[in-house]
């Protein structure tokens, strides 16, 4: 298929970016979206131009490195997948594809389509863990967990930290990300012990980092490649009130 690409190019965080148009010919419908970009980059290199910069690594939808805003949707026109799992058969011959980076104050652009998501690491550092030192754990079956809770916890833990929730949210809010981690740990007896401190610290950090506020719009849920639901934001709220009052 032949395609017209409109890609955001930006030299560095302080330079103004702009869209640049490219044309690609004979792309296989079986190619993944990133393989299509590989082809573009190979063409750019052969012309001596600098390739389009974007993050990607595992290319099987689990590392969370890739993330592009394609035609108005994070991770493109399919649900429950990351960009690397998106295939070109989702597009038609002759389509124009607009590719932008994640846009949020907390995710500054590094170059082109690559953004800095260190804010997510900073959030986890604030309490997204259970304080247990290596070697001090009791026997694994000494801690019993209700199967339903383990399953819900796993639902929340499936987050890959790609940032699509922030990118999709009209307020650039990180509450789905924070809610998922709070939920995962609050649902397990191991995590309950320090749940109050965790939620207070993580929420304070989230505000400090400049993320917006949730308006329960649900764009995050709609675009999350791992299907993490708004339920986790509701639980975040509950955990927060529990810790506050």
């Amino acid at each position: 298929m032949n395609l017209k690409l409109k890609i955001w190019r930006q030299k560095d965080p302080n330079t103004r970016g702009k869209f640049v148009n490219y044309r690609l010919r004979d792309i296989s419908a079986d190619s993944s979206f990133l393989e299509m970009l590989d082809v573009l980059n190979e063409e750019l290199i052969s012309k001596g131009e600098e390739p389009v910069v974007y993050d990607h690594d595992c290319r099987e939808g689990i590392c969370g490195a890739c993330g592009l805003y394609i035609n108005g949707r994070p991770h493109g026109p399919d649900s429950l997948i990351t960009v690397c799992q998106l295939h070109m058969r989702k597009f038609k011959d002759g389509d124009t594809i607009v590719i932008e980076p994640w846009r949020a104050r907390a995710f500054p652009i590094i170059r082109d389509l690559m953004v800095n998501r260190n804010a997510f690491d900073a959030l986890i550092q604030e309490g997204g863990y259970v304080s247990v030192n290596t070697g001090s754990a009791p026997d694994a079956n000494a801690i019993l967990v209700k199967k339903e809770h383990a399953d819900l916890s796993m639902d929340a833990a499936a987050c890959i930290g790609c940032g699509a929730c922030v990118a999709a949210c009209k307020n650039a809010s990180a509450m789905l990300f924070v809610g998922a981690k709070i939920s995962q740990l609050a649902l397990l007896p191991q995590g309950k012990i320090e749940s109050n401190r965790r939620v207070m610290d993580m929420v304070a950090k989230m505000d400090e980092l400049g993320f917006g506020n949730c308006t329960n719009t649900g764009a995050c849920e709609a675009e999350c490649p791992k299907g993490i639901t708004l339920t986790n934001i509701a639980r975040l709220n509950r955990e927060y009130y529990k810790a506050t009052f």
Binding site: P77, A204, N213, T215, A219, L230
Partner: protein
């Protein structure tokens, strides 16, 4: 505790509480308004309005109500500004995600409602308070004759249209606001959340329908 007033989640909590309070108030307000069309005697409404403007308990309630409005608006404004700041550079291509439609326009529907509210206050509430309204004497007691005034107003087509339009926008605001408030309060359940979402639509329809029924009824009377 103090973080309730400063943190994102705290501010959202206050906003949703104020919102739920206003949701209840709207029902009461609508009930009183409907008196005008339910009873042929305009004095039923005038008496109710009289109680509303003189009773000491209602006066206290009024202060709380204003507080609720202010809280809802001020925090909405703060949160909205933070939300805008959180994304300094907009996307070129508008978001295409599959989301609840009305939630995207909360600030817009809110502003329209606010404009209506300001007109409403100047036109009606202040008159009632500071006595420029016409009076009617029943059993030796003077009442503001709001009923006649309302009936006069609702005979004017532009006013009717404006009034109904304002409530339709408020309805859009309520469809999302109603269920969003519950989520913000942390209430989310596999079974009950769809019920709340259904109730949100029922409630909004009742509010829009109830309030709009009055001008329509009067206009065509």
């Amino acid at each position: 505790m103090s973080s309730i007033f400063t943190s994102s989640l705290g501010k959202k909590l206050l906003m949703s509480l104020a919102g739920i309070f206003l949701i209840i108030f709207l029902l009461v307000h609508m009930g009183i308004n409907l008196l005008i069309v339910i009873f042929d005697d305009p004095m039923v409404y005038n008496k109710a309005a009289h109680i509303m403007s003189t009773n000491i308990l209602i006066k206290i309630f009024e202060i709380i109500l204003f507080g609720g409005f202010l809280l809802h608006m001020i925090y909405a404004l703060i949160l909205q500004i933070q939300n805008w700041v959180a994304r300094p550079n907009r996307y070129n291509k508008a978001n295409y995600s599959n989301t609840s439609f009305f939630s995207k326009f909360m600030i817009h529907t809110a502003l329209i409602t606010l404009v209506f509210l300001v007109i409403h206050m100047m036109d009606f509430y202040l008159k009632a308070k500071f006595g420029h309204a016409a009076e009617v004497i029943v059993d030796g007691k003077a009442y503001h004759d709001f009923a006649s005034e309302i009936i006069d107003k609702f005979k004017m087509l532009p006013f009717v249209i404006f009034y109904i339009a304002a409530f339709v926008f408020l309805g859009f605001h309520l469809v999302h606001g109603f269920q969003s408030a519950f989520k913000t309060l942390g209430m989310d359940h596999k079974k009950y959340t769809p019920v709340v979402q259904f109730l949100a639509i029922i409630y909004s329809t009742i509010i829009v329908g109830g309030f709009s029924f009055i001008p329509v009824y009067i206009y065509f009377l």
